[in-house]
């Protein structure tokens, strides 16, 4: 890996895309993404990779600065030192509201889960319990309540 570090100058390009817009497109030295089954660190010269994201904290380090986002599912692609994060939802970690997240968690746990499908749905609710927060609380939607975003802290014990 030493050679590739030199050839690429040791930097990555990190792109974060949500269905609405491209949130971030800047160089980084190290990116940590929450994969479905655990966290993955990516530095320059990483092998091409397609990964499924879980929910948790996305960290992007460049020099001394560290950017943190909460991401909720999606995919990550690494190729040629470009890290592309495709996610439904990416929100700066400091906008996360723990109180609303906790409330959503208890609501999710109260849902029925006596079949595998329902269980999957409940887990998804649980995972996405922070959705919609910080944005408009206008009008409801199709059956779900507007809710807050989970605290990355609760989700990410490794911090």
């Amino acid at each position: 890996m030493a050679e590739s570090h030199e050839t690429t100058g040791g930097t990555l390009q990190c792109i974060v895309v949500t269905p609405e817009t491209t949130i971030l497109d800047e160089p980084a030295e190290f990116v940590a993404v929450p994969l479905y089954d655990g966290e993955l660190g990516i530095a320059a010269g990483h092998t091409p990779l397609l990964g499924r994201l879980g929910y948790g904290e996305l960290r992007i380090r460049k020099g001394a600065s560290l950017q943190r986002f909460y991401v909720d599912g999606g995919f990550v692609e690494v190729v040629d030192d470009v890290v592309t994060v495709l996610t439904n939802n990416a929100m700066p970690a400091d906008q996360v509201d723990p109180a609303v997240a906790a409330e959503r968690l208890s609501a999710a746990l109260a849902r029925p889960a006596h079949t595998p499908e329902l269980m999957e749905i409940r887990d998804r609710w649980w995972r996405s319990r922070g959705r919609n927060c910080g944005s408009r609380g206008t009008g409801n939607n199709g059956g779900a309540t507007a809710v807050g975003r989970p605290a990355a802290r609760i989700l990410n014990p490794m911090e």
């Binding site: 269905p19 990779l49 397609l50 499924r52 999957e120 199709g142």
Partner: protein, 297 residues
Amino acid sequence: MVNPRALDRRRRSIRSIRKITRTMELIATARFKKAMDRASAATAYTRRITQLVAKLAQSGLEVSHPLLQPRPEIKHAKLLVITSNRGYCGGYNGNVVRAAAARWNDLASAAPKRSLEVSGKRGIGAFKYRGQAADVTFTHFEDKPTFAEVDVLATRYLDEYVTGQIDRLDVAYTVFQSAGRQAATVETLLPLSSLAGSGKPAAGAEAHGPTKMYEFLPSAKSILEEIVPTSFKVKVFKCFLDAAVSEQIARMVAMKAATENADKLIKTLSRHYNRARQGRITSELLDVIGGVEALKG
């Protein structure tokens, strides 16, 4: 003889109508540009998802997922109709409602149970008028639908489909083909007919030059499990974005036509008014001259 003052009053009222339609046209133009920007920003995500599917297909994975399989028996069909909250946009809502009503009648023979969901006040009113009130209605989708809002809806449909509460989902909306062309269509979104990009796996590969060997984490199958619902959500989101853009275009065109008609009407009325005014002056003049002649005599 026509009263010139009445003509002038009409002309004035048409002038103020023209002012309103002209303003609405300008507003629609501005909103259209914004909606268009949002729609094109959203294509970045769709494009990447498409590439991802292409890469998955390349890895030799068989694309199969419950959401992709048509159900043998359709017990419950759902129709979602996307219209606007406001009028003054020409045939925009009428076309969607007509297309939706036709599909709704078709569904009657295809499925024993149907349910109707309508977004937008105009559509809600139109279906009520037709004697078919919607089961669920939304009015919170304006000209800037957000993914979070659509996601709630899409997730509910997914949940209902997975748990067997619905077997088919159709969406009636106005598809945006180009700035000059939009058409009301009805699409079947569940079961998903195809994954974006799976039809042409070679296109993405060639663009990338030599094929890269990808590592799949945790596995290609797991990624597929996630990508199918995502693909569905993005499709629903695109429906709403398309509808928003098309609405603004329709309003722009309708208001432009209204402004032009007002111009034409003002011109005609001005002509009539001038003629009437002239006629009145002439007749008054004749009166005066006639009087003078009579006095002389």
